[in-house]
């Protein structure tokens, strides 16, 4: 904690004594309340001047504090805006919180300091109605432009059934139709340039190259991209709002659906932070089972990316072979979890069931089967000169740009930074495993592909180690908050039966507090920031997904390329729309 102390001192010197208030959180991340006026200098200082600067805006989100029943001496606030910054030099997070008063408060925008604050601030505005002064284009981002209300405010209904029956009146329909009319000015695009009239092209919402419901408005000069505006939100389901309605336990199935290619990886990110709040230590067996499943899902997700990427670039066969192999992984997943893409298999304090009989053979078979396949695919796709021609030197960003835009995961490692959360901030026992972090230097589409292919090999190495060293023991912790408790006792003694009843009906009561997790998900850093006010449901859950900042960067890296190149760029970014919109 020495680092944290020195940062605190530096900040205090900078901003004046007494302008900071430190909050204790269970995740050991320095959490400071800053006054509204001081937020710009504070962030400016942390980004540029501090020793070991915080170069990345990791996350930015709001909290509606009006229903919170326990302040525990924290500053009074109606709304809070939270800035999470990360320093690669110090390997350290910092959370800055700003308390805002009033029904529809406003705060200064930090877009001029961090490029990627743009979308985050729009999201906070969309979800809470908090205004950001000085924001270049403060409009809704996830909800439709005609939406009334701000969904994450506590007074906004959580279910459609609370809103009364829907009626399609004429004027309503006209308003919706009018909102769909495309006016370039609304998107910040010019119709005419100095010497050219631009053409506008919609890619999506239904287009095979967008891998989901995403619309990209392209401003074209000939075939060259002058500007691009992604429109997201088609896949927005309000996962964060649902967390406030479900119990801690029954929210787990919803996390599956955030990055639907990552499966258990979402469970893990969520449970990491719940378990931090609850203070649960996991038995070794549970940890290793979790790691094994995560790595299998990483391979499955990368296979989907690999196949679709090749398909985007005109190779139509590989995707079929890769989906066949992914099916082999799903056979294992199904035998273990009972589900396939939505395994819903991790539980607070462990996993749902022990591994089934004969799992070793299944995994062993895959471990033997897969390496020649990767070699084949590498030969088929990566070494193909057509593939090279369409990816080398396309969609380049440098390391500084990557950090500025909040890029994590393979996209960051392709710029030469050896940064993997599994190694740098080990969680769930990843420090017990041997594996390498693949890095590449050029930061173009080709390198991002290379990194991912190599990652599949490394994941397979981890799976193999899990297979060979699976510890014996319990698959669930015996902590009282483990939900549901080990069932073998449930039928035997009344104590456990009562706990079982309470935990699965009301749900476990997680102690009040705040915790953030950070895991290396398939696409980059995935975090769940859980706030409990000591009840059976979360007060607020913030989901930081990797795809959101990655998508935000697309216009920046695709300018000047052609439409065909845009598809290489989109493919190489590897996003999932559900992961962007949540």
């Amino acid at each position: 904690m020495d680092d944290a102390d020195s940062i605190l001192q530096q900040l205090q010197q900078q901003l004046g004594v007494g302008s900071l208030y430190q909050q204790q959180t269970v995740d050991d991340i320095l959490t400071l309340w800053v006054s509204k006026e001081k937020i710009i200098p504070a962030i400016q200082f942390l980004k540029t001047a501090a020793a070991g600067p915080f170069k990345m805006l990791y996350d930015l989100f709001g909290i509606d504090e009006r229903n919170r029943n326990r302040y525990n001496g924290l500053p009074m606030a109606d709304f809070t805006v939270v800035y999470v910054l990360f320093s690669f030099e110090q390997n350290c997070f910092i959370k800055l919180k700003v308390a805002l008063r009033g029904e529809y408060p406003s705060i200064a925008s930090i877009c001029s300091i961090f490029k990627n604050a743009n979308w985050y601030e729009r999201e906070v505005y969309d979800m809470f109605g908090i205004r950001f002064d000085g924001h270049p284009h403060l409009t809704r981002i996830l909800m439709p432009l005609t939406w009334e209300g701000h969904p994450l405010r506590k007074e906004h209904p959580a279910r459609a059934t609370e809103m009364g029956p829907f009626q399609l009146r004429d004027e309503y329909q006209d308003r919706q139709q009018e909102a769909l009319r495309f006016k370039p000015e609304d998107w910040g695009l010019l119709e005419h340039g100095d010497d050219a009239d631009f053409m506008f092209l919609n890619i999506g919402p239904q287009h095979p190259g967008t891998h989901g419901v995403l619309r990209i408005i392209l401003q074209l000069n000939g075939e060259d991209i002058v500007d691009a505006v992604p429109e997201i939100g088609f896949h927005h389901r309000g996962a964060e709002k649902m967390a406030e309605r479900q119990s801690w336990h029954t929210y787990i199935p919803y996390t599956d659906r955030v990055d639907y290619l990552g499966g258990v990886m979402n469970n893990l990110a969520y449970l990491q932070s719940v378990e931090k709040l609850a203070g649960i230590e996991l038995p070794d067996r549970a940890l290793v089972i979790r790691v094994m499943l995560c790595e299998l899902f990483r391979i499955a997700s990368h296979l989907v990316w690999f196949g679709t990427f090749a398909q985007d670039l005109g190779q139509l066969s590989p995707v079929f072979y890769m989906f066949t192999d992914r099916e082999k992984i799903f056979d294992i997943v199904e035998a273990i979890c009972g589900g396939r893409m939505h395994p819903n298999w991790f539980r607070i304090g462990g996993v749902a069931q022990d591994l089934p009989n004969g799992w070793q053979q299944l995994v062993q078979h895959f471990v033997d089967y897969f390496p020649p396949k990767i070699r084949e695919y590498e030969k088929m796709v990566i070494r193909n000169s057509l593939f090279k021609a369409r990816t080398k030197g396309i969609g380049i960003y440098t390391l500084e740009e990557a950090i500025e835009w909040g890029v994590t995961g393979p996209g960051l490692r392709a710029c030469g930074l050896e940064w993997d959360w599994r190694k740098k901030r080990p969680y769930s026992g990843y420090d017990m495993f041997e594996f390498d972090i693949p890095v590449a230097q050029h930061g173009d589409c080709f390198d991002r592909a290379l990194v991912r292919v190599e990652e599949m090999r490394q994941s397979l190495r981890i799976v193999k180690q899990c297979l060979e060293n699976m510890p014996a023991g319990d698959y669930k912790s015996s902590h009282p908050l483990t939900t549901p408790p080990l069932k073998k006792f449930t039928m035997q003694d009344i104590e456990t039966l009562i706990t079982h009843f309470l935990n699965v009906s009301w749900g476990p009561v997680i102690p009040a507090g705040e915790a953030m997790s950070c895991i290396e998900a398939t696409k980059g850093a995935n975090s769940y920031y859980c706030i409990s006010d000591g009840s059976t449901a979360a007060y607020r859950v913030r989901i930081r997904t990797p795809s959101f900042p990655h998508m935000q960067m697309v216009p920046y890296i695709s300018k000047g390329y052609t439409v065909g190149d845009l598809l290489s760029i989109l493919g190489s970014i590897d996003f999932v729309l559900a992961d962007i919109d949540r």
Binding site: T250, S317, T324, E334, G338, G339, Q353, N357, E404, L497
Partner: protein
């Protein structure tokens, strides 16, 4: 938007050699791979004539269990309905009357028990919540239907055959799942 760096790395667009530019060799190699795969074992099956086996823990359509004597296990405690994140289960409880001991295992039973398969997300939390091993997820998924109400499964659809009348079907319905569960517990 100005660039953050001057993007020192030049875009590598050097013209390819004549042979590479033809791409004929690459295309040919790709075609060969595809051709080779034509003669490999098929990865697909001809559904619905053929069906793939599901794993014993697969989370498909629900069944309501009976014990070996054919009595319904469910005691209408409502835990499954409470545990259900999708609120797919509804039930009505009733007291067992004298003389019904051969029908219901406990003094209280579910007079009505419905699962809406359109709401259900097949998460399996109901199965996990049930203290009586009464509700299981089986190894099939819901067949298609023409109307929404066809997806609301009542007790008749969910209850497995009575072992007294139809022992073969009963054991098939109980399946490996029971054996599997016992092993893992």
């Amino acid at each position: 938007m100005q660039a953050l760096t001057s993007r020192a790395k030049p875009v590598d667009r050097k013209p390819m050699t004549f042979l590479e530019k033809l791409y004929v060799w690459s295309i040919f190699k790709g075609m060969m791979i595809t051709l080779r795969h034509l003669f490999k074992k098929k990865a697909t099956i001809s559904y619905p004539e053929e069906k793939r086996p599901f794993s014993p823990v697969f989370r498909g359509l629900h069944i309501l269990n009976r014990d070996e004597e054919g009595r319904e296990r469910c005691t209408a405690c409502g835990l499954c309905a409470l545990a259900c994140p999708a609120e797919a289960i509804t039930m009505e409880a009733a007291e067992r009357l004298p003389g019904e001991e051969n029908l219901y295992r406990e003094e209280k039973y579910a007079a009505k028990y419905e699962i809406n398969m359109l709401r259900c997300i097949f998460c399996g939390l109901c199965e996990e919540a049930c203290p009586k091993d009464a509700v299981y997820l089986s190894e099939t998924f819901a067949p298609s239907n023409y109307q929404r109400k066809g997806f609301i499964y009542g007790k008749q659809d969910l209850l497995i055959p009575n072992p007294k009348d139809n022992p073969g079907e009963y054991w098939k319905a109980v399946g490996n799942r029971k054996a599997n569960k016992e092993q893992s517990n």
